[in-house]
Amino acid sequence: MPSVAFARWQNDRTPRLNEVDSHCAVVLASVPPNPTFLHENLRGFVLHLSAYFQGFCRDLYTEWSQIWIAAIPLGFQATAQAQFSAQLALEKGNPTYENINRDFSRFGFVLNLHAASPAGAQLVTDLGHLNEWRNKAAHQGTKPLGGGVPATLTLPIVQGWKASCDAVATLLDGIMRGELRRIMGVAPW
């Protein structure tokens, strides 16, 4: 059984992203081609993808922290909740591997996607590229992107990032469930 956050990712956020994906495919296939409109749609797809993935990460963080908090005495709970809510990187920051790690490290273990999956390194790279493009799209950036980041957006590239976000979401859900089971002795969800 997945977490509520992961179920929401699968049943609400992903179908919405699929709609954007389908729309981009229609624009890509339009005759005559309209590359400017396609590029604008792909930038929109990137913004949606980053935002929805950030939302999933925030939801999972909330779910995990509330299970943790429910296990401590009632009189400490609001104080612990204030601490878990304070200065969250994912509150305003992009869902980069660094920000996800910074917030989830509050639970007392190191989140290591590289070790969690043979594809971990590629997933982390894709997440980085997605967020580089997210910033470029959101802030109308004109500077060249960093080394290795695709210079041009294509639908297969963004679809690949979407698949990577889905893989990271699946990994995070499993890692967090495993850690809670290790700590509390029972499956949290």
């Binding site: 929401r8 909330t62 509330q66 204030a82």
Partner: protein, 69 residues
């Protein structure tokens, strides 16, 4: 106002007290979802504290409504 058996989540802007805490008065900023243990509703509430406001995520059963929205 008791929060037992609420059918709908509390609305943003509702003034609440966080029970068993030093926070006397807070405002519902957002209903986050059923992310608590056994699907308990979680809210993001804004606590007015000097020198700055503080956001806290709490369960519905920790709240007492002081003024409904």
């Amino acid at each position: 106002m008791t929060l037992q058996n609420l059918t709908e989540p509390l609305k943003a802007g509702t003034i609440v007290k966080i029970l068993n805490s030093g926070y006397q008065r807070a405002r519902i900023a957002e209903y986050r979802g059923p992310f608590g243990p056994k699907g308990a509703r979680i809210y993001r509430v804004l606590v007015q504290r000097k020198p700055r406001h503080v956001y806290i995520e709490v369960r519905e059963d920790q709240l007492e409504v002081l003024r409904a929205k």
